[in-house]
């Protein structure tokens, strides 16, 4: 009996110690992140006005705005979505439903896609510069930015789409095939509808990552300071992370403040996209028991 109690006490002790440790670890990350957000908010909220959002950049911080960067970011992200989601989902469908899973080539392909997700963003920038700007000759245009960001997030979209498609139970596939429904109609009839929430969530999260990327866009010639809006896919453009980067590298304190406002705009957009992802997932989720 006493032996039992001794062991119990020891277990409780270890349990409590571990919990204290975990709380400590969590508070470190919360503290760092919290300080950062608070700092940005305190610096930036005063200059975050409607004028700031609807004005062109300027040499004077008090008159500068982010309109071209905001439009540029939206444009690039929308194009990126149009390019990367169909290609990514198509690849995932091929790899899960069509390809011979035992083939060495397919295994190599899947391993490589997972590895590509870990390649630094700047490398995709260099690739975009070499292939789309130089080789294809599209120059420093909006469409090149979109192609480059598509390359960056394609692996993430493919991997999340593969997971979503694999999560569709096999009994559903069998049920459809047993009714004499072809493979393609089984995919469009039940597999994709069931995998859509997962595909959407993965894609939106990947796109919100692309929205915050500066490095690859700098490589392919997006600029931090433009005073016009892009009119066509071949126009030059700016993007939010670039304008923030441009402002923070200036010596005047006033620019540091509007840079903080720019960051706030980006944070708000990120929160909105991530919330959208969550809402879509919850609304369209189909439960199979």
């Amino acid at each position: 009996m006493s032996n039992f109690k001794r062991k119990l006490k020891r277990r409780h002790l270890i349990n409590n110690l571990f919990m204290v440790l975990l709380v400590f670890v969590i508070s470190i990350s919360f503290l760092v992140l919290g300080t950062l957000l608070l700092e940005i908010f305190l610096r930036g909220y005063k200059t975050l006005t409607w004028d700031f959002i609807t004005s062109m950049p300027s040499g004077r911080a008090s008159r500068a705005g982010i309109l071209p960067a905001l439009i540029g970011s939206f444009g690039v992200i929308a194009l990126t979505a149009l390019i990367s989601i169909p290609i990514g989902v198509g690849t995932a469908i091929y790899l899960t439903e069509y390809a011979d899973k035992k083939s060495k080539f397919v295994k190599l392909l899947q391993l490589n896609i997972s590895n590509l997700a870990g390649v630094p963003a700047i490398v995709y920038g260099i690739l975009g510069l070499a292939v789309f700007s130089q080789l294809v000759g599209l120059g420093p245009s909006l469409i090149v930015g979109a192609f480059t960001l598509s390359l960056l997030i394609l692996p993430v979209i493919i991997v999340s789409a593969i997971e979503a498609i694999k999560a569709v139970p096999n009994s559903i596939r069998e049920g459809s095939y047993a009714l004499g429904v072809t493979r393609w109609k089984t995919i469009t009839g039940v597999i994709l509808p069931m995998a859509t929430p997962g595909i959407m969530t993965g894609s939106i999260l990947a796109l919100s990552r692309a929205m915050g990327e500066a490095a690859p866009l700098i490589m392919v010639g997006a600029v931090g300071f433009v005073t016009f809006l892009p009119n066509s896919l071949l126009d030059r453009y700016s993007a939010l992370p670039l304008i923030v980067f441009n402002w923070t590298s200036r010596p005047q304190a006033a620019f540091a403040e509007i840079a903080a406002s720019g960051i706030l705009v980006m944070l708000i957009l990120l929160i909105i996209t991530n919330l959208t992802a969550i809402i879509i997932r919850n609304k369209t989720q189909i439960r199979v028991d």
Binding site: K101, K102, P169, S171, I172, R173, E174, G175, S176, Y177, A178, L179, G180, V181, T182, K185, G189, V190, P193, M194, I286, R287, V288, D289
Partner: protein, 251 residues
Amino acid sequence: MTVKVKVENLNFYYGDFQALKNINIEIHENKITALIGPSGCGKSTFIKTIDRMYDLIEDTRADGHILFDEMDILKSDVDVVELRKRIGMVFQKPNPFPKSISENVLYAVKRHGDVNKVAFNEIVENSLRKASLWDEVKSKLHQSAFSLSGGQQQRLCIARTLATKPEVILMDEPTSALDPIATSKIEELLQELKKEYTVIIVTHSMQQAARISDYTGFFLNGELIEFGNTKDIFTNPKDKRTEDYITGRYG
């Protein structure tokens, strides 16, 4: 009596493992044929060969002949999509699609694309009536199939199969996930279905085979040990192993 499916010298392999050994059997039209035997004896594998569902499993191979109205099902040039319209299958666990009840019934019909839209309502009602589910669901055809109970889901899966107008219905332990009341409903339903269709049912329960079937086949280790009238099999088995199984010595 017409023979609907005639199996001759059927062998089946998963890789190097031979799961079925020289099976010969004749399935009669508008009768219920029950296949019994212990787990892993090959009875589920056997019905998977009849609608070529084994095509979906990698590294499988079948030889011999399965004649279905003179067509050899095992030939590589058989259109399996067309074949599976004529030979339906109901699975062990109800597997309705995450769609409404009526969409489940119409799922295959819509995707085969050979029926006029005007006929959709009629198909839904007829199929659900034949699966004796109509009265329970007629007021909620647009609700999700998942709102139904397990037994209702299984009858919905039967209705879904009937909508494609099959000639043969294969059932792989269709009641093993259901309670006794749901089971007896499906058993009653089978007696109705055999008037129009040929039914082959794999079952774990010897009592079920004895209750519902006209013919019974006993499988053991990939071999068809005995096949004949259900009455004969259960009252007067010829093979010692069949007798041991039905008297509960093993299995």
